[in-house]
């Protein structure tokens, strides 16, 4: 990575947040100790669906330390249902079940006690009488008939929308070849090592609810305010809480509303830190579980002209924002390919499983997986090399900006060059020879390829596309800079972070613009009552959006410093040169004003300031997402997300034919996210994304048994990749700057994850091909692979 013309951007700088983390001084929600805090434990429903007939709290209330037992009826009477994305008023979502519990693990009652242990003990003593009800777990069954999860809604379908872009029927009719494939993305999630937690404290005299939470969520304070029916000026979310990983799912709004209610009701600070079981079962943090039926029309050369995609999402019991995860992939529905027309049918059904929330990529990972599996199968039926088929279909560098059928224009890219760079590093023919050698040694071996996009910037107009009642076209982020009377610079950001290095981002960008050492710039976080607007770190957007806000705020500061200097030097502003905090006359460089001079004028010598200038050196900038600002057309076209990063995965994988154990032999990644502001951060995100993708592809699954019980309830059952499962990966960087962003940067928060499952699935299928079998359901667990291989061999393959 070359720094090019930058001083600090793209250079190999440390990440400032790391210093507090390596000494154990991160400040996570579980580290917040407010005096007199009481603790919450939860009683959950043991049935996948059940009517709550009676809740007997007496035994629990008599136990030591117990302060209160709250049930769904009391909470529902005092609060409003949680905000949802779709207009489904008969599918209300509440923190505690009201009358009917709809999944095993759903919260039924909350105990408040002096210690967490006392609260847990008392939760076991609550006596609930249930009437078990019929339930449905499978999305197709829920769609076809199935018992109704929410009877008042009249159906299990929350969303069924078909969008057609281009002449799909004509293109299908004109194409000599068609192929259809059914693939399934399994139910997994991001599962951060820190569970979700929240501490809420109510001050009735100031009328402020203080909230400390491990949160990563847009409009969090708004949603607390709405559900608790208190003004938003009475909700103060503290953004200086370190979040121990999120990758999308840290959205504990139901936890927060519960604790906020209890804090007001009981006049104690209330704390709820999920244990791992609560996190995995009732934390409402599962990810997509999506069945795809994809049909493509193509020619003998493997050029794909048109695609029909049906995506059926198993939402779990309640909606929240999760149906929108079917919407985001529309912004790059054709991936990096020149597919001319698309029909997309998005169906979301409720079932009696745990509720979903946003997961890294917001639905993009599953869609990329489906598309990339299909591209491999196109190559397969034509007897062509899968890499060659991709090369033929990829958008070429000179074709950017490139408008895709669903209305988004891709900003920039150089996909063929990225692939060439990867292959320069690892010869493709040699790789195929290595695969074939492994095969002759008795192993099953396969090569897996994936070429994927990472939409970045977070212009979430899919909301308006899937729910026309939503007219949101604004997706902003902000930065404020203040130079104090001593000349020190403090920048503020207005959201939490969960490991993305945003303080480093802000410091680096402001330092770049002001030509000052980023380490000399303090970066702080506000709270929701002191903050400018932030869209929060979602949609792989902060390098673009917070970076953009910081860049423009710094430009404003620089302009003010230049104007003050020009005025004090008595020359036209055009003659002033800004240089590392000082300004001088370009015609007479000895005539200068230093940083200290400019601070003195701004803070203490208003008689030397240009007329009409505000005293001091405070600036702020609210930055709107580039290319945003439009709502969908009536025929369902819209610009989503400004920037599109590219990743090309190339994997050699072997499978032990007796055990079914897959082993990644080689892993190369070509990655282009435009200008990398901090290469250490980008590399970490990408490697972490690959590890997460390995988990989703091979190991992780929230599996249910036929009785509707989640059977992956611990880390012994839900398998996160350890250092043994993640191979060394060669990452080959390429840099195609985005024309839309201040430094040419694009997003990288989802990189790796968006392509690794597709590449691994393709590698596994290439390995299995000699046996005449294929597998298209994630995760590709050892047990499944072993059974599949054994069955194929039994047939004499």
């Amino acid at each position: 990575m070359s720094a090019g013309h930058h001083r600090f951007v793209s250079t190999d700088r440390r990440v400032r947040e790391d210093r507090r983390f390596v000494v154990g001084k991160g400040r996570y929600v579980a580290d917040i100790d407010l005096p007199n805090t009481k603790h919450v434990a939860l009683l959950t429903c043991p049935y996948p669906a059940a009517r709550i007939k009676c809740i007997d709290k007496n035994a629990a209330l008599a136990m030591p330390g117990v302060r209160y037992v709250l049930d769904g009826a009391e909470l529902a009477a005092a609060t409003l249902p949680l905000m949802t994305g779709l207009d489904t008023p008969n599918v209300p979502r509440r923190p505690l079940a009201l009358d009917i519990a709809r999944y095993s693990g759903e919260w039924v009652a909350a105990v408040v006690a002096d210690t967490r242990a006392q609260a847990e003990d008392a939760a076991e003593a609550i006596d609930v009488t249930y009437e078990p009800l019929p339930f449905v777990l499978d999305a197709e069954q829920a769609l076809a008939s199935g018992p109704l999860v929410h009877e008042a809604h009249g159906s299990n379908v929350l969303l069924d929308k078909t969008l057609v872009w281009g002449k799909v029927d004509k293109d299908f009719a004109a194409s000599p070849r068609k192929l259809s494939l059914r693939v399934k993305w399994g139910r997994s999630s991001t599962v951060p090592i820190e569970t979700f937690g929240v501490v809420a404290s109510w001050d009735p005299w100031r009328e402020i609810l203080d909230v400390y939470a491990s949160i990563q969520m847009p409009r969090y304070a708004d949603q607390i305010s709405a559900a608790l029916k208190i003004p938003s000026k009475s909700v103060r979310v503290h953004y200086d809480v370190d979040v121990g990983g999120s990758y999308g799912v840290k959205r504990g709004i139901k936890h927060t509303v519960l604790c906020g209610f209890l804090a007001r009701r009981l006049d104690f600070p209330i704390r709820l830190i999920e244990d791992r079981l609560e996190n995995m079962r009732g934390g409402d943090a599962h990810g997509p579980e999506r069945l795809f039926d994809v049909e493509v029309a193509f020619d003998d050369a493997g050029i794909v002209r048109s695609m029909k995609m049906r995506a059926l999402e198993n939402l779990g019991a309640y909606a929240g924002r999760s149906p929108f995860q079917l919407g985001k992939p529309i912004g790059s529905i054709v991936g990096p390919y020149k597919i001319k027309s698309v029909e997309y049918r998005a169906i979301a059904v409720v079932t009696n499983k745990t509720t979903q929330d946003a997961v890294r990529g917001f639905g993009q990972g599953p869609t990329n997986f489906a598309l990339e599996r299909v591209m491999d199968e196109v190559a397969n039926v034509l007897g062509l090399d899968p890499l060659e088929v991709r090369r033929r279909n990829l958008i070429r560098h000179e074709e950017f900006p490139y408008l895709i059928p669903s209305g988004t224009t891709y900003d920039s890219g150089d996909y063929h060059t990225v692939i060439d760079k990867v292959l320069a590093n690892m010869n493709y023919e040699a790789l195929k020879q290595e695969r074939d050698r492994l095969r002759t040694e008795g192993k099953l071996a396969g090569i897996g390829i994936a070429a994927c996009l990472e939409p970045s910037g977070g212009n979430a107009t899919f909301e308006a596309l899937l729910n026309p009642a939503i007219t949101t076209s604004t997706f902003m982020d902000s930065c404020r800079i203040n130079v104090d009377g001593m000349g020190a610079i403090t920048a503020t950001m207005h959201t939490t972070s969960s490991g993305q290095g945003h303080e480093t981002l802000v410091g680096t960008v402001i330092g770049e613009v002001l030509e000052l050492d980023p380490d000399s710039i303090r970066v702080t976080r506000t709270d929701s009552l002191n903050s400018l607007p932030s869209g929060t770190p979602v949609g792989s957007r902060m390098a673009i959006m917070l970076g953009g806000a910081a860049f423009h705020a710094a430009l404003k500061l620089k302009a003010k410093l230049t104007a003050i200097g020009a005025h004090d030097l008595g020359i036209a502003p055009e003659r002033v040169v800004y240089d590392q905090g000082s300004v001088f006359d370009c015609n007479a460089p000895q005539n200068k004003r230093t940083w200290a001079d400019l601070v003195q004028i701004a803070h203490r010598n208003i008689h030397r300031m240009p007329k009409g200038f505000e005293p001091g050196l405070a600036v702020s900038h609210v930055y709107e997402v580039p290319t945003g600002g439009t709502l969908p057309t009536p025929d369902g076209r819209v610009q989503m997300y400004p920037c599109f990063s590219f990743e090309f995965h190339l994997i050699l994988l072997s499978i032990d034919p007796d055990l079914g154990t897959p082993q990644i032999v080689r892993y190369r990644l070509g990655h282009d996210c435009g200008t990398q502001i901090n290469p250490k951060i980008v590399r970490g995100m990408t490697m972490g994304g690959i590890a997460h993708g390995i988990g989703a592809a091979l190991h992780e699954e929230f599996a249910y048994n036929d009785e509707g019980q989640l059977i992956a309830q611990t880390f012994m059952d839900y398998l996160l990749p350890s250092s043994h499962e993640v191979p060394a990966v060669d990452i080959i960087d390429h840099e195609t700057p985005s024309p839309h962003t201040v430094l040419g940067q694009k997003g990288s928060g989802e990189s790796g994850y968006l392509g690794a499952p597709a590449a691994l699935a393709n590698a596994v299928n290439d390995a299995l091909r000699p046996l005449g079998v294929s597998i298209n359901t994630l995760p590709l667990k050892v047990s499944k692979l072993g059974d599949l291989i054994a069955a194929a061999r039994a047939k004499g393959k």
């Binding site: 991160g26 090592i193 972490g688 996160l720 250092s723």
Partner: protein, 165 residues
């Protein structure tokens, strides 16, 4: 019950329930917040501390079981206010973390490894940290941090080639 714990060289007397885990005792009674709860069933390793120099999951040990041991937490390996140990500094150099939640435990595991094996191979580092789950990094920059720390620590107090001549 009353127990005595020796943590980071200092003796403490605690009045605790017998069922208190070592993790909860360190966090809630001694205010040592660097040990983190991740799974509380002994898989993720985020609660790792050193017990007599050995990396141990503090969520799986009751505090009374640790009475006769010397316990070291991340606070105990930090040299002083504002200072970093060579391992901590190496983690900063390679950015061997993101959210920081698993980091103190990962660093203590690295301490235990390097105390026993000053010159570990990549495979030995991978093996040593395989009981510490990191969800952010994919481990590459953690492995590099430990290798870098090992290299630097081997160089400590060793005269350079120049001096030895």
């Amino acid at each position: 019950m009353r127990i005595k714990l020796t943590v980071n060289g200092a003796a403490h007397e605690l009045d605790i329930e017998p069922r208190t885990t070592l993790l909860d005792a360190l966090r809630d009674h001694l205010n040592l917040k660097g040990a983190h709860a991740g799974c509380e069933h002994g898989v993720c390793g985020a609660c790792t501390v050193l017990v007599d120099g050995v990396a141990v999951r503090s969520c799986l040990m009751f505090a009374p079981q640790a009475e006769d041991a010397a316990i070291t937490t991340i606070e105990g390996v930090t040299p002083g206010p504002g200072e970093l140990s060579p391992i901590q500094d190496a983690f900063c150099e390679t950015h061997g973390m993101q959210c920081g939640y698993c980091t103190p435990a990962m660093i203590l595991t690295a301490h235990a490894l390097l105390a026993a094996n000053p010159e570990p191979t990549r495979e030995q580092i991978v093996e040593a940290i395989s009981g510490n789950i990191c969800r952010c990094t994919g481990y590459a920059q953690i492995v590099e941090a430990i290798a870098l720390a090992a290299e630097r620590m081997r160089g400590v107090n060793r005269p350079s080639e120049e001096v030895r001549k």
